[in-house]
């Protein structure tokens, strides 16, 4: 395959210009501003600023509420990513079977992903509401009790985890399905001829061949559960009860837009950014070696 050749060195830049402008205005400039504002005490979203150096960062590192926020984020992220990918892989394997209506199942499984987070949040809110929610009606039939999903700290965390996993299932299943369909059945047959049982065939062949996809999905799911979980938290629990579901992204939104502590929120943004970069770097280092590319 030959690459296209442009006449003149600046023509490629011309073609890239629209993208670069959009990236610069909507991505790079806000990021730079956020970094800058994290060193100021800012009032009213920028009307008054006062340089305070590293004060915002020091305040955050000393604040036990912030430590709790980070802990909550790590717990929820780990649960959403690990359990989410596990369930998605399981469902993808089921959907990959040659059964009647397989196409229909695959089509229906992608649906949750197409919902906006706000809509999904409202649906879950109605389902899990005390008193008139469907879920509590079912639990009262089965175990004779209604559960306080929104008001109990542990249950609220479980609810957020469940809702976030459900929302992202479609995305993960699509990718896993595509990867599964690329798994060469000859390798599987060879393994079963060699005497591998179903469990060994799965782990040592299928899962190993899925590793590039798993690696990719790990990164996207981590990004999802650090950032996109905001919609669920805002609609379902608003960070409560008692900050039990107060993830970092919700905490910084609240500090910025409800309490008008823009400088502090910017510092939290920077810390969140560094955390995600760190996690991704660790992933590349450790898992990079375990990923098998090519059939």
């Amino acid at each position: 395959m030959s690459t296209a050749k442009f006449k003149g060195k600046w023509v490629p830049w011309l073609f890239m210009l629209p993208t670069l402008i959009i990236l610069a205005v909507f991505l790079y400039y806000p990021v730079i501003q956020t970094f800058r504002l994290s060193f100021y005490r800012v009032a009213f979203l920028g009307l008054k600023t006062k340089f305070t150096g590293l004060d915002n960062y020091i305040d955050l590192l000393k604040d036990s509420n912030y430590h709790h926020t980070v802990l909550v984020t790590l717990v929820i992220t780990t649960a959403v990513v690990v359990i989410g990918l596990g369930i998605s892989l399981f469902i993808a394997m089921l959907a990959n079977q040659k059964i009647r209506g397989a196409h229909i199942y695959r089509f229906l499984l992608i649906w949750p992903f197409a919902l906006s987070p706000a809509v999904a949040g409202v649906v879950f809110l109605f389902m899990f509401s005390p008193g008139f929610g469907v879920v509590n009606y079912l639990t009262s039939l089965v175990i004779g009790r209604e559960l306080n999903w929104l008001g109990d700290p542990t249950l609220a965390v479980i609810l957020i985890i469940m809702a976030s996993i459900w929302k992202n299932l479609g995305y993960n299943i699509v990718f896993y399905l595509a990867a599964l369909q690329n798994v060469n059945t000859e390798v599987l047959e060879a393994a079963s001829i060699d005497g591998a049982n179903a469990w060994q065939r799965f782990w040592r062949v299928t899962f190993a061949l899925l590793s590039p996809m798993t690696f990719f999905l790990l990164i996207t799911n981590i990004t999802y559960s650090f950032f996109d979980i905001f919609g669920m938290v805002d609609i379902l629990t608003k960070g409560g009860p008692q900050d039990a579901t107060n993830v970092m992204i919700y905490n910084l939104y609240r500090d910025a837009f409800e309490y008008y502590k823009t400088g502090l929120a910017s510092a939290q943004s920077v810390i969140l950014f560094l955390l995600v970069v760190l996690v991704t770097l660790i992933q590349f280092r450790t898992s990079g070696r375990q990923v098998h590319y090519g059939g």
């Binding site: 009213f44 920028g46 009307l47 005390p130 008193g131 009860p241 900050d243 409800e258 309490y259 008008y260």
Partner: protein, 476 residues
């Protein structure tokens, strides 16, 4: 493949159906309850504005002065405001008011601040009452009273409203939608429990008694709901004559601490906890969940609800739809304190600076028109918010409005019977949004049994004082 194709088509059509259905169901509009006699039986007057009809899009007339007006109302109220603005534009050629809903109260304030940063603030912004100190500190807004024409009678505003919105003796904003908390109750459930449906409970102790009968007789699962919102805590403090903040409740000088560990505060939170422990008080589990509390009352899970008077129309409609008779009463208070009254909630209209003289005049003219006597009457009837002008009250009484619509009466009398003290004037705190969350989380902790009343309030006081200190530092 064919089956999948059909399935896809059918599914897509099914997805589109709800969109069509939503706009199709239009409840029949009524004439606003004016000519209709009061119905004391189960059929309650239904006041409805057509839901799905968009206000006609108008072209901005040539040469008209354009005024931007941002507010935080949605649903029926948004349509009502648009209609009022259309009336103004029609009767005032040369001025065109562009009205826009910017989201919640907080979203609207944020949008206004951001617009001001870019040098293009909207002329008129609706700002919630506890955002007043924020609005004052931001430097964006100019005092309304300085620009109001002299014939505008600010003395015509009723006491509770003017006492709240006068800062340092001046009106910086024009009061618009004012409300206070009242007790809504289900008269049918009262009858079923053997209680007098015309006598709602008035004190904390009576609430406990009434609730014992209601829950005990199995008429309802719980007795009363209200949102877990600091607003109610603040109202009870004022009702007991206790100030929330120092320095004259933040009105004599900038507030630097809050009195969360006062006896009044402990009485309130202890009663709240007792009601919750006995299963009388129910809430959705989420903080500040107005809709959740409404749902608990309307669905019949509770026999009473404490919420804003601005929901009178909504509750009446809910009662009509669900087939029960609605009653209203005063906010309950502890029997051993003297009832002082309530603080107005709601919002006011602030005007931003930095506009040319003619735009300023037009904006002032609009604000004055929007809150004049006729419009105050109209706004009250369509929403349930107070008629903030004494002249509007006179008109309504002349029409025997309160006799024909007794649900509106309780809220109104409660405000008129409020004594003017620093406590009932309402606190002015810059970091109010954060302080409110701190108070709510403390109450949440107490209800969940994770802290005693004293511990939770002590911790809340420390956190709140720190938040206030940080805020004050940021604006000095």
């Amino acid at each position: 493949m064919k089956a999948t194709k059909w399935l896809a088509i059918v599914t897509l059509l099914a997805l589109l159906l709800p969109l069509v259905a939503a706009c199709g169901a239009t409840p029949a509009p009524s004439t606003g309850g004016e000519g209709q006699p009061a119905q004391v039986t189960v059929e309650v007057t239904r006041i409805v504005e057509k839901e799905c009809e968009e206000a006609p899009k108008e072209e901005i007339p040539e040469g008209a002065i354009v005024i931007d007006f941002w507010h935080a109302f949605g649903g029926g109220r948004k349509l009502l405001i648009e209609r009022m603005v259309a009336d103004y534009n029609y009767t005032h050629p040369g001025v065109y008011v562009r009205v826009e809903n910017k989201g919640s109260y907080r979203d609207t304030l944020n949008a206004a601040i951001l617009a001001a940063q870019q040098g293009n603030p909207p002329h008129i912004v609706q700002i919630f009452e506890v955002g007043s100190q924020l609005a004052l500190d931001s430097g964006i807004f100019i005092p309304f009273e300085d620009n109001a024409p002299e014939w505008v009678n600010m003395d015509d505003l009723i006491g509770g409203v003017s006492n709240y919105y006068r800062f340092n003796g001046k009106f910086y904003s024009m009061p618009w939608n004012s409300s206070n908390p009242i007790l809504y109750y289900n008269k049918d459930m009262f009858r079923a429990a053997g209680l007098d449906p015309e006598k709602p409970p008035e004190t904390f102790e009576e609430m406990l008694d009434v609730c014992e009968k209601i829950v005990g007789s199995g008429v309802a699962k719980n007795c009363v709901s209200w949102p877990l919102h600091s607003w109610f805590f603040e109202q009870w403090m004022a009702n007991m004559g206790a100030e929330l903040a120092n320095n004259g409740n933040g009105r004599d000088a900038r507030a630097t601490e809050v009195y969360l560990t006062s006896d009044a505060a402990k009485t309130i939170v202890s009663w709240w906890k007792e009601m919750y422990d006995k299963g009388y008080y129910a809430y959705s589990g989420k903080l500040e969940d107005w809709d959740g509390a409404d749902a608990i009352f309307v669905s019949g899970q509770a026999a009473m609800e404490i919420t804003s008077t601005s929901d009178v129309v909504n509750r009446q409609n809910d009662a009509a739809e669900n087939g029960f008779e609605l009653g209203t009463g005063y906010l309950p208070y502890p029997a051993n304190s003297e009832r002082q009254g309530v603080i107005v909630g709601g919002a006011s209209m602030w005007m931003s600076g930095g506009h040319p003289e003619e735009e300023l005049k037009a904006a002032t003219d609009f604000v004055t028109w929007f809150t004049n006597t006729e419009n105050a009457v109209r706004w009250h009837k369509a929403t349930g918010y107070f008629p903030i002008r004494k002249s509007a009250v006179t008109v309504l009484e002349g029409q025997q409005w309160f006799e024909r619509n007794p649900a509106y009466r309780a809220a109104f009398d409660q405000l008129l019977n409020t004594k003017d003290t620093k406590a009932t004037r309402g606190a002015v705190i810059g970091a109010f949004p954060e302080v409110r969350t701190i108070i709510e989380q403390a109450i949440e902790k107490v209800l969940a049994g994770q802290a005693t009343v004293d511990e939770a309030l002590q911790q809340a006081k420390e956190e709140a004082d720190k938040a206030i200190e940080d805020y004050n530092k940021s604006v000095e």
